[in-house]
């Protein structure tokens, strides 16, 4: 059964790229790969395009991993600075999105290991704004009754809180697979583990969320 996520990335032209689970037959046919090759050649315009293409996703991902706010924006900057600094390390055999998410995940996991972040996480948990709809796009609220909208908002707020409480690797696997729609193979490459480990992480995260949100589901 489908998760509801689109099966193709909006940034990838359907004709040139294989299905998401298939390896790239011709890497140069992928516009992201061509863009990255231009960045490797030193093109600032290409880097600017790359930033505009991925910054929204990375900021959303980083925000869900470590908490939204100024720190998430700082870390998002760090991610793209590292993308530029280590641009020569990118190989066209892997998807650009996988490579960038890998950098972002490492940045987030390092941040979560910092002692001061534990305090910041606690503060962030109390500072959550129920009216903050940055990360939740409810599909056409007018199509639902007010009660349904209220219930959906309450569930979304609780979901955000419980995702933040997941262990970091489970959180990363769940967000990459269920929210960002990466194939399990790519999630495994991002996290540096096997596909089987990714399935286990996603399963545990989903099961844990279901248990804690039982009253709201």
């Amino acid at each position: 059964m489908s998760t509801g996520r689109p099966t193709t990335n909006a940034t990838e032209p359907d004709a040139a790229v294989n299905a998401r689970d298939e390896p790239l037959a011709d890497p140069l046919a992928d516009p992201d790969v061509r863009l990255m090759l231009e960045v490797q050649a030193g093109s600032e315009t290409a880097f600017r395009d790359l930033f505009r293409r991925y910054s929204g996703k990375i900021l959303a991902y980083v925000g869900r991993m470590i908490g939204h706010g100024a720190r998430a924006e700082e870390l998002t900057q760090d991610v793209f600075v590292q993308v530029f600094r280590f641009r020569d390390r990118y190989r066209p055999e892997s998807r650009l999105s996988t490579w960038i998410f890998r950098i972002a995940t490492n940045v987030c996991l390092n941040e979560l290991r910092r002692p001061e972040h534990r305090l910041r996480v606690d503060l962030w948990a109390h500072e959550s704004d129920p009216d903050d709809t940055r990360e939740v796009q409810l599909p056409d609220p007018e199509a639902r009754s007010p009660e349904e909208n209220a219930a959906a908002s309450q569930l979304a707020e609780a979901l955000r809180r419980e995702i933040a409480a997941l262990p970091p690797k489970q959180r990363a696997a769940l967000l990459l697979a269920r929210v960002d729609g990466l194939p399990y193979k790519d999630v495994a490459e991002v996290l540096g583990c096997t596909e089987g480990a990714v399935k286990a992480l996603v399963f545990r995260a989903t099961h844990g969320l279901k248990e804690r949100l039982n009253g709201l589901l």
């Binding site: 600032e44 900021l59 600094r85 979901l159």
Partner: protein, 215 residues
């Protein structure tokens, strides 16, 4: 199919990528028969829909792009050191574990920085013959042992009815060089002369009658 198996498969079935057609059919058959699992299945899908409704991207503050470009332009010659490459690609715990392992290898790997580690001393077996007192007097050159130093070590005390052993037990003989080499034995002369040395070097302690020492 058991309910526990079905509830595990409910999560797997969220992804077409993980559940096989056979598994989905088996799950569907169980849900037709089990009302409790049907309700659980509904909750699972409501969760999946809530996750799907999370926005994959968010609006980016306009200043963020400018700040990134400023930092990128300011990179000095774009020099990336090997340490920075390591930190970028290896999580901190891996680096920390590598550093600890390196330190342990250096410290523990070579226990004797002066050279080969000494061979462990062979534990002497139990001596079957009665222990004989090896007088230290026999070790010092000024109280020379019998001229034949290769001969048996004759002790001062022995039972007159029994002949003293002509040769020391092999185990004791093996340890003799060690006994001879003890630092305290090497410095025995110094200890014997200590009293004379002490007289020469002792500092006279002031008596309580001297001015300034009384309390």
């Amino acid at each position: 199919m058991q309910c526990t198996t079905a509830r595990t498969m409910m999560i797997s079935s969220l992804d077409d990528r993980t559940a096989s057609e056979l598994e989905r059919r088996a799950l569907a058959a169980h849900l037709d028969a089990c009302a409790a699992c049907r309700a659980e299945h509904e909750r699972t899908h409501r969760l999946a829909r809530a996750l799907a409704e999370l926005a994959p991207e968010v609006p980016v503050p306009p200043a963020l792009e400018g700040e990134v470009l400023r930092r990128v332009r300011g990179l000095d010659g774009d020099v990336v050191t090997w340490a920075e490459r390591l930190r970028a690609w290896l999580p901190a715990p891996v680096l920390a574990a590598g550093a600890v392992a390196t330190i342990l290898f250096v410290v523990v790997g070579d226990r004797d920085p002066m050279g080969e580690a000494p061979e462990p001393l062979a534990r002497p077996r139990a001596i079957e013959t009665p222990p004989t007192r090896v007088a230290t007097a026999t070790m010092r050159p000024d109280r020379a042992a019998p001229a034949d130093t290769n001969g048996p070590v004759r002790t001062a005390q022995h039972d007159g009815d029994e002949q003293p052993p002509t040769d020391p037990p092999a185990e004791l003989a093996a340890t003799l060089p060690l006994l001879l080499d003890l630092p305290i034995l090497r410095n025995m002369e110094k200890l014997e002369n200590y009293e004379s040395i002490e007289d020469l070097t002792r500092v006279d302690e002031p008596t309580t009658d001297e001015p300034g020492t009384s309390g």
